[in-house]
């Protein structure tokens, strides 16, 4: 054991890779984020309290959080459907669909933004259809939800897919053979093991969506108190040279995203422990 440990440390390159990594992380990530965390206290707590006393900020946060939650919630059944089809269905063109699912992740947000604004706009392919039914999507909060749905979808699929792959299909068949109705089977047999990855996928999509900027601002309409998202208000405050206001919103967004990510990490640990325990049994 001791020999093993010593040999482990014997691999060369430890100090040089530590030095390189610390400089890299320090300059690009740690330094700027330190500035973000310290900035609000620089002019005393009073300035920060004033920055937090801002109705427009809370309205923007409400729009961002509400639309992100709604979009992620709509993505859950859609993502489950796609993940299910990828893993379980005899699906012609599976590789192409598998690749397409990552597209929202790779497509530049400005491209997504102008495309969805045109697609859902009053004369767009989808927008014109909806307009005939009396529904306006572009330049309303509904447009924000539509854009965020597009952005969040891959997160649900990619969270559910590996867990689904690990579940034996015999489980579902056994439920049906034992006389459960398809609905019962879904609720009692299929859903419970998929719940943790669905929650994880929802949180990842939500965390991404509350910070989303480029794909939203073209379609949102950007009216204060109505369709203005929090990241846009950061930009507005910066243009007004109100660094404290901008930093306050940024810190709230960042903390929320971090809470989501920590939750996901905890969930992942629990799921993988569960899988290990089941494997051992």
């Amino acid at each position: 054991m001791v020999f093993c440990l010593r040999r482990r440390d014997g691999l060369p390159g430890l100090s040089i890779s530590i030095a390189f990594t610390l400089v890299w992380i320090g300059l690009i990530v740690a330094l700027p984020l330190t500035a973000l965390v310290l900035r609000p206290w620089q002019e005393g707590g009073g300035a920060m309290l004033r920055a937090l006393h801002d109705a427009r900020m809370y309205a923007a946060l409400r729009v961002s959080f509400g639309c992100a939650a709604l979009a992620a919630a709509i993505d859950v059944p859609l993502g489950l459907l796609l993940a299910w089809a990828l893993v379980r269905a005899r699906l012609p063109g599976r590789r192409a669909i598998d690749a397409l699912i990552d597209l929202p992740f790779a497509l530049p947000t400005a491209v997504t933004g102008i495309t969805l604004a045109t697609l859902y706009g009053p004369t767009g392919w989808v927008g014109a259809l909806l307009a005939r039914a009396g529904i306006r999507v572009a330049y309303t909060p509904a447009g924000i939800v539509a854009a965020l749905m597009f952005v969040g979808l891959p997160f649900i699929v990619r969270a559910v897919e590996p867990v689904l792959r690990g579940l034996p299909p015999e489980l579902e068949e056994a439920g049906l053979l034992l006389g459960a109705s398809p609905l019962q089977n879904f609720r009692r047999v299929i859903l419970p093991p998929l719940l943790p990855p669905l929650v994880a996928g929802f949180s990842l999509a939500f965390a991404r969506c509350i910070g989303e900027y480029g794909s939203v601002i073209f379609i949102a309409g950007n009216q204060p108190f109505h369709s203005e998202i929090a990241p846009l208000l950061i930009v507005v405050r910066l243009q007004e040279y109100d660094y404290n206001g901008a930093t306050a919103i940024a810190l709230i967004l960042l903390l929320s995203a971090l809470v989501c990510m920590t939750g996901v990490a905890a969930l992942r640990r629990r799921v993988s422990r569960g899988l290990v325990a089941r494997g051992a049994a």
């Binding site: 390189f20 740690a30 269905a89």
Partner: protein
């Protein structure tokens, strides 16, 4: 494998195609149609506009530098985190992955807090006539932050599986650190590395929010391709905007397809 019944499968496949078509294919189709609305010649001409060319040049320059830095850093960090066990390793991994959960606007804001006129070092920079915010260095810093995690993140799971027997053997045979990394570790991890570099490049080319905050939005000078799309679109130059968008969409699709093939390869190789 059992799988669903024939009818169930047909319904599932139809629903999947419908979702993929409506949510994913339709937008891409729209980009292409809008770009070619007035013909391919007009689209091509719009790309040769001096401001468009300058935006392409700036984007390529910034992406190239950011990819080089983050590839080098990512390789070293992945080596450190996967080949050794030490306290604080989890914190390091969390820090590497942190930029993923940071809003792009915040990724721009943090650099203004350092180098903007009201930032920590803004006054000093002003006195010495050094421009970082609202100029190319600021755009580069924002891109560096946004593309930070991807090489390390793609490499880490792969290098973890590699173990370290091959490296130990190379070391015992007299190879130093750089030689071991260059001749043993990286050749084995080349597909994962390539996949990470591709993702970094695609992210760098397409970054909008972070770059938008630190760019001065001066056409022909501090506009990258995505920022130029915004300017064109807001100026009702729809064909030009969508042509540039089509270019970016093609890059994104090529990236996604290549990565899916690469990942297929290295997943197969590692299992």
């Amino acid at each position: 494998m059992g799988g669903p019944s024939r009818r169930g499968n047909a319904v599932l496949v139809a629903a999947t195609y419908l979702t993929v078509l409506a949510v994913l294919v339709l937008p891409v189709l729209l980009v292409m149609v809008e770009a070619l609305r007035t013909g391919i010649a007009a689209a091509w001409r719009s790309l040769l506009d001096p401001d468009a060319l300058s935006a392409i040049r700036l984007t390529l320059l910034v992406t190239l530098v950011a990819t080089l830095v983050n590839t080098a850093g990512g390789i070293m960090a992945a080596w450190l985190v996967t080949k050794y066990r030490f306290r604080g390793r989890g914190v390091l991994v969390a820090l590497i992955e942190l930029p993923i959960s940071v809003s792009p606007v915040i990724a721009g804001l943090v650099w203004l807090l350092l180098f903007g006129r009201q930032g920590w070092w803004g006054g000093w920079l002003d006195q010495h006539d050094i421009q970082i915010a609202f100029a190319t260095p600021g755009i580069l810093l924002a891109t560096l932050f946004v593309t930070f995690p991807y090489v390390a993140r793609t490499l880490m799971p792969f290098m973890e599986q590699q173990g370290r027997e091959a490296e130990e053997a190379a070391f015992l045979l007299g190879a130093g650190f750089w030689r071991t990394l260059w001749r043993v570790t990286l050749p084995d991890a080349r597909w994962a590395l390539l996949s990470g570099i591709l993702l970094t490049t695609a992210r760098g080319i397409g970054e909008f929010g972070a770059v938008s905050v630190v760019s001065g939005h001066i056409p022909g000078l501090t506009e990258t391709m995505p920022l130029h799309i915004e300017t064109l679109y807001n100026g009702y130059q729809t064909v030009a905007a969508f042509t540039m968008a089509a270019l970016l969409a093609l890059i994104a699709m090529a990236t996604v397809l290549l990565r899916s093939f690469l990942e297929h390869d290295f997943r197969k190789a590692s299992s």
